[in-house]
Amino acid sequence: MRGQVPYLLGLGLIGFFVAFPFVYSAGDYDYIMHILITAFFYAILAASWSMLAGYAGQFSFGHIGFMGVGAYTAALFSHYFWLSPVPTELCTEYQFGSTWLVIVNPIGVTSSTLTQDCLRQALTAWDGSVEVSRMPVWLGIILGSIMGGVFGFLIGVLVLRLRAAYLALFTLGFAEILKATISAEIEITRGQAGIELPALFEDGVTVFGHAFSKTDKLPPYFVMFGLLLLCLAILAWLAHSKFGLFVRALREDQDAAAALGVNTTRYKVLVFVITTMMAAAAGAVQGHYIGIITPNNLFLLQMSLVVAMAVIGGVENFVAAAIGAIMIQVVLEMLRNSFVIGGYEIDMTIWRLVFFGIILMLTLRFARNGLIAPMIDHFTRGHVAHETVAKRVATEAEGTE
């Protein structure tokens, strides 16, 4: 019975998050909902990163870069591809039945010049007589995830031979190159100005007879929450299948795993592809929800947040990482205030991050499995049979000889 406690608690937590938007009705409703959506976003990143780093032992610092790949793919897709019932005669366009797929020419930021892209020119010429439509948002999100997977595959193949420090530096380098490229290619990505995305439900959405406008928080809340649950379900399925076992074998001893017949190449690349796809999907959804994506979203700070959340939650348990991410995001937002001690005004908007960093270091030093994962383990394993106990005992025995 005790072993069931985490599952019951997990179900309770899911129930709480499902019921929360309907029960809660204070004045700061939109703000709280926004915090929770962002928390779910970080939870997806932290959970997928913990699969990559904690289970497979691939300490990648490029996770936020893959998030950016997903978000930018969705953004560019919605920005440059349109559907029109009438050919524009100006753009590159392809006919599919009675609609034309219009590819807009890249012109970058147009504040200083008066040039318009070809679609705007055509729209001006039509003067409102023709309605063009965007590509569906869900298609952009799927494309974003696939693109994230493609990049994850490439990086996964490139880092096959690298371990530990080299892997961390290489993936960090990937994220930096990506950020620099996006900042530099202003014609296409609009550089530091950022690129705008349509809202998740640009024309509103009607669910069970209730119409939501595009600024309502409820639909994106459930989209993000659904994505989080989907990711967690996939991760749980993977972790409890042969895949999880092989991947953990990779982490503990790659050569031994290979000698025992594990196809290390395939599983290493596969774990990269799966986790980066999750990061990319989260990025695409978050981009559509926020409405804009800039290269600054790919800063190392964001990566440090993801890493810190996963570590504080428990890097070897993706559920703990996700819960840690949600809790930390909520706590960090709650701390956005200032108070006065002994005549000094302390501005918590910055100090909260200092404390966060200290907590991260202390967690790493004194509670290597994080703060939440041991609680879960406490119930599921009943104090004993920790996964790495055998290994630790072995090293201790070695040391005393």
Binding site: F59, L158, L353, G357, M361
Partner: protein, 422 residues
């Protein structure tokens, strides 16, 4: 660029043959049961430089890969890329304008010396602790910040030399304390994966320090006035065709190369301190003990050296070197709490390029990266784009190094302790 297709065509051709060369050569050497440690690099470079002309003899004869065979194709590749660029864009500033090239190279060298010096600290830490310190950029930032606070806020009018020394002492102590508090469990085998632990814990330190400085010092850029003015001179004579002319903040050589005072003093100081550091490492007992620990931890312990104390010394010394680089450059750049990120990235690149744990490699790598950045910023036609790509140049070097020769220029294949595996 006038005819971009020449340049990009040449680049694509070289990449194609480089990939073919690296794959084929490695396979061939494996089949013949020969040493494959340099095959990827030589194959790629020879393929890129000569195409099939050089690869076929290599494939047929499979000679021993001597240093000459490693260096010449690499130089050839670089020359070929430069030639393709010159052909494609003859009007470019960095092809047509000789004095511009000279001044870019000089400035690249000077900034490269400073980069190399900073990377030296990182590689020192790595060679002894086996930890890639992600807090290196933050030590650099704190070095500069401390000099600003000492000279401008706490003790106005103090000699900048004393301020620099104080900053170094503070960071040295910080490094030592951090090492004692957080890195000691690594040595006792209590941690399953010490390398990752080292990365994460220094990452946490970087995060904490950056926001601590932002919370205490604010987010406004600060700047220190330059430490030292050049005397006003003209050499060889005060008449007009002069060779060297200095004003207080600048130095001009041959009427073409202009070097700003802060960078010049920083580079000279770096060279002097480097000399002192080499003396310390090679001539004093403690320095020899440090090197001994980096070569073989257990043997050093048997010889009566306390490796734990050397760990502390190495981490503190490495952090102090970064702080010194920051303290020297705070007079050249405006300083923010976030300023450490880019130099830290550069140090990672340099350290990997030079070979993790190799001191001369770090210095040479620094100069190379300085030159690459100077070439990148000088030669890309669109100035705005060139500036935006600055963080990427180093990362391209890093990526190429990791793919072609993960041991770097002078990397040791088998090092002691936790950092033997990569």
């Amino acid at each position: 660029m006038e005819t971009p297709f020449i340049f990009w065509g040449a680049i694509l051709w070289m990449i194609l043959w480089g990939i073919i060369g690296s794959l084929v050569t490695r396979r061939r050497y494996l089949q013949h049961d020969l040493d494959t440690s340099n095959t990827v690099f030589v194959g790629a470079m020879l393929g890129a430089a000569t195409g099939p002309v050089g690869l076929v003899p290599l494939w047929m004869k499979t000679p021993e890969l001597t240093n000459r065979l490693i260096v010449i194709p690499a130089i050839g590749t670089v020359v070929l890329i430069a030639a393709a660029f010159a052909f494609a864009d003859p009007q470019n500033n960095c092809v047509a304008n000789g004095s511009f090239v000279a001044s870019q190279i000089t400035n690249g060298l000077i900034i490269g010396i400073i980069y190399g010096f900073m990377a030296l600290g990182l590689t020192l830490i790595f060679s002894i602790l086996g930890v890639v310190s992600f807090a290196h950029g933050e030590f650099y930032m704190i070095g500069g910040m401390l000099v600003y606070f000492i000279t401008a806020v706490w003790f106005p009018g103090i000699n900048p030399m004393i301020a620099i020394l104080m900053a170094c002492a503070v960071v040295f102590a910080m490094g030592a304390i951090f090492e004692r508090m957080f890195l000691t469990p690594m040595y006792e085998g209590k941690i399953d994966r010490p390398v990752e632990y080292g990365i994460l814990i220094t990452f946490g330190l970087a995060f904490t320090l950056q926001y601590f400085v932002q919370a205490t010092a604010g987010a406004n850029p600060v700047k220190v006035r330059r430490y030292f003015d050049f005397p006003r001179i003209r050499l060889p004579s005060s008449d007009d065709p002069w060779l060297i002319k200095t004003s207080r903040g600048n130095m001009e050589l041959f009427d073409t190369i202009s070097i700003s005072n802060p960078r010049f003093t920083a580079a000279i100081t770096c060279v002097l301190v480097l000399g002192a550091l080499l003396y310390f490492l090679h001539r004093t007992w403690t320095g020899k003990a440090l090197r001994a620990v980096s070569q073989d931890r257990d043997a050093a312990a048997i010889a009566g050296i306390n490796p734990d104390r050397m760990n502390m010394l190495a981490f503190a010394l490495g952090g102090m070197i970064a702080a010194l680089a920051g303290a020297l450059l705070v007079q050249a750049f405006s300083w923010l709490p976030q300023v450490g990120a880019i130099p830290a990235m550069r140090s990672f690149v340099i350290v990997v390029l030079g070979g993790l744990g190799s001191l001369p490699g770090a210095f040479l790598g620094g100069i190379l990266v300085g030159l690459v950045e100077a070439a990148g910023t000088g030669c890309i036609p669109d100035a705005q784009k060139a500036a935006s790509y600055i963080p990427a140049y180093g990362m391209v070097v890093l990526t190429l190094t990791l793919l072609l020769r993960p041991t770097g220029l002078f990397g040791r294949r088998f090092a002691s302790g936790t950092h033997g595996k990569f």
